[in-house]
Amino acid sequence: MQPTAIYRALLWCYPAEFREEYGREMAIAFAEQLTEARQARNRSREAFVWLHAAADIVTVAPKEHCHVILHDIRYALRAMASQPAFTAVAILSLALGIGANTALFSLWNGVLRVWLPVRAPEQLVMLTDPDASGVSIGSQNGQRSLLTYAEFEQLRDHAPAFSGLMASQSSLDRWQVRVQGSESEQAHGRLVTARYFDVLGVTPVLGRTFDASGDHTESGHIVISYPYWQRRFGGRADVLGKTITIRKATLSIIGVTPPGFYGETSGQQPDFWAPLRMQPHLIPGRDWLHDTGHDKVMWLHVFGRLRPGVQLAQAQSMAHSVFKSGLETYYGTVSDQRRREFLNQSLLVRPAAGGASQVRRSFSNPLQMLLGAVGVVLLIACANLANLLLARGTARRREIALRLSLGATRSRLVRQLLTESLVLAAAGGVAGLAAAYAFQRGLVWMIRQSDSNFQMRFQLDFAVLAFSVLATVTAAILFGLLPAWAVTKADAGESLKERSQSAPAGQLRWGRLLVVVQLALSVPLLVGAGLLLRTLYNLRNADLGYAREQLIVVRVDAQSAGYDMPRREPLFRELQEKMRRIHGVLASSYSENGLFSGRDSGDEIEVEGYTRTGKNDQGSRWDQVGPGYFSTVGVPILHGREIVESDSAGAPYVCVINEAFAKRFFAGRNPIGKRITTVYGDKRTTHYVAGVAANARTHQLRGEVPPRYFVPLTQPLAEFDGVVFSIRAAGDVAPVLSAVQKAVRLQDAALPVLSAQLLEERLATRMAQDRIMATLALAFGIVALVLVAIGLYGVLAYSIARRQSEIGIRIALGAYPGRVVRMILAETSTLILGGLMIGGFLAIAASRLITSQLYGLAPHDPLSLSAALAIVVTVAVAASYLPARRASRLDPMSALRQD
């Protein structure tokens, strides 16, 4: 290969403009330099010439590229400033699109992907189920979700696979606390073991954390979080040593965690961490530190760090064998068969860089769907911008044609136009970040409607920033490339000759295609919104099996007020009587688990005359209720009778079963008088069926109503600490609600009322996630519709502008305005029909993805689909009608003069 040919090849590293201007001269200069060196027979000088040429590629060429880019950016900024209205619309729509995408991504990232803000989170493992939380009393088959304190102690002391092991209360509780010298207030806190901070690798910003040896003794210390320190104590250093009183314990503050640290559960920000050994003082009346009887209190998450060199599988087998041998010792005294059942448990050690999360499982699917929907909105916005740019390109055709005829290459112009799109998108992206901050706060606020503990700050971390940059660049390419390509395609000479500013047919075709794409994309969004709105409607109107209105639910906890077992049931009976006497109360009763409280009970059962066939018919859920429970709640009794006052401790043991129970265990047989035996460990309790109640939804809004049986609280299956009163009110419920709370206080001021609200309020919280989904989907649908209307209007307005003379001639020849409108609408209908058809297919394909979110309707719900199509048609026809009507009123003479 000739040296000059090589040099010419190297010249391709320079920007095209520079190469075209100076490439030839440079090649001549290079050739002469080389010839001179060869004539002087100076090898090193020849090498030097080559070296210089190579060095230019890495030093001069990038500088020249920067020069062109800066020039293009300056040009783009001037172009943007010269059309402020267009620029404002473009930046605003991009800001909304990119902002909404970034906000949802940040939330998705924070909920599903983020790692705990602790030292080397990838080394953390978890011995419990990250999605589980709460307190589970009894026993559990299969893989264990939560652990007891005694089990944690065994693992801590006997599993050498871990360099450190700690446990934390799986739920974040809201506590009534009193800071030294202040009134009582509420704060979120969590009980943790002594090595909690040590295992997580957290260094306090002030003071210290718990002694690593503190698990063996009670400690009167408490550690507070940075936000709580700032908010409650103004960030003062003298906070150390101040005391916080929680129930029966007074703890002194010894340290403040660093900013950004929230613990082991993502989405929750505790105000304080208290020593777990203080549980008997902080949660009085309960012993959750020891396993006694057959009931284990499973309430802890357990985290650990693997010892260097230990593999996950090794740790798993080591931890499992410690857990298993603990169970064997614990259930050593029960009969062989029972033991086998109790021992059917396992422990799973899993990586835990992301920690525990209460929202991960429930929000994972919805967030991914919303992310998809908001991505579609951005696509529609990009299609719209592409249309606007096409239209603007039409206006700039003469300028572009002039530059082409002056020798600018097409690639140079495409690069220039794409730079303009990128600058526009960058401005939109920056504004989008600000919008994302606001949107994200709105989303967090919405999530807090369903989970009051949920907290998450908007963090502009690398992933979020990378996402928004990617969204911006993608948007710029999406909306910029097609117009740049289309408007530079025109023949320079033709455009210069053209006098009118109208768009050429090619660009119009692209514009129409973009409108079809927009129409098609908007349909699945609207169908999704329709499906979710109908779901919300169905949930709100779901048949619970009883009237949800004017039902008050109040939870009273007798155990923490110091009532022992024998005194609890009489207390509830007395309270029931007092509530019945309140003005406005129609009926009152109680049950242990209550309605939609999140608590449930279940056990293995043996049903008279029923032979088990599989694994799923070994047990049933149950509840323990007061007299008149069914009539108070309003659940009809289909056969026999309900639980009444005469069902006392001394009377024959009876129960009421629901229809689902009767169907599964008594299919076709008369259940009245049959025995149901509840088996728990070696304990067997038999009740006779006294009645069959209609199926009622008391725990879940979705799914089938499961078999359930109800026993009188006087003939209990297990110990109970409190009950939930159900009070049926007439008229105004507000005075009844406060009178009920007052009645409890008057009975015993020490009795804590843990919750008092209308059942409808509680159900609204349950439906919050569905409400969020429906609201957001509707919002996205409306935005999509507006964008589609703008796009269609724009394309039609331009196409009519281009055909002014044709329309003018038609009108001059006597076409009535109505006929012109019809003609234009008929042409538009092809676009609309095409968009709707593609959109319909897209919607049918996409609706499969949201099946799990729906209630009471199928994903291919014809009503939602036809409603969405009808709305799109209406909006599209309205958007086309305006320009069509304007065209029909054209003055033929002035229209003809135009061209």
């Binding site: 001269e25 001549i28 030097f48 210089h52 500088k63």
Partner: protein, 116 residues
């Protein structure tokens, strides 16, 4: 109106060399490279990339101009593009020379370099 010559200072060495090369007569690119090499005993060798990148910038700044006809009637090579120093370019070059001269005087006054 041209901006203040001072606002261009200090000049990049390559730019100053090109201005000096064009001070006595109009030249084409390769001639500039040869002149710079000759005046500096081969110590400064402009590469084609550096030369034309500087020329592009100097044209934009109005320091030099391109000639539409070759100033050398004997030249048969019509491909050559010739450049000439503008009045403004001359003022900028003079300002840079003055700046360097003043620096040199200061160095001499402090005994950093010997006087002539």
């Amino acid at each position: 109106m041209n901006p203040d010559p001072e606002s261009f200072l200090p000049l990049q060495p390559a730019v100053f060399h090109i201005l000096i090369a064009l001070a006595d007569r109009d030249r084409h690119g390769y001639s500039i490279m040869q002149d710079v090499a000759a005046r500096t005993d081969g110590k400064v060798q402009l590469s084609p990339g550096t030369l034309y990148s500087s020329i592009r910038r100097m044209l934009e700044q109005g320091l030099i101009q391109e000639l539409s006809v070759s100033p050398d009637p004997t030249s048969t090579d019509e491909r050559r593009r010739y450049y000439r120093l503008t009045k403004f370019g001359r003022r900028v070059a003079a300002a840079e020379a003055e700046r360097l001269n003043s620096l040199l005087s200061q160095a001499r006054a402090t005994g950093l370099v010997a006087g002539m």
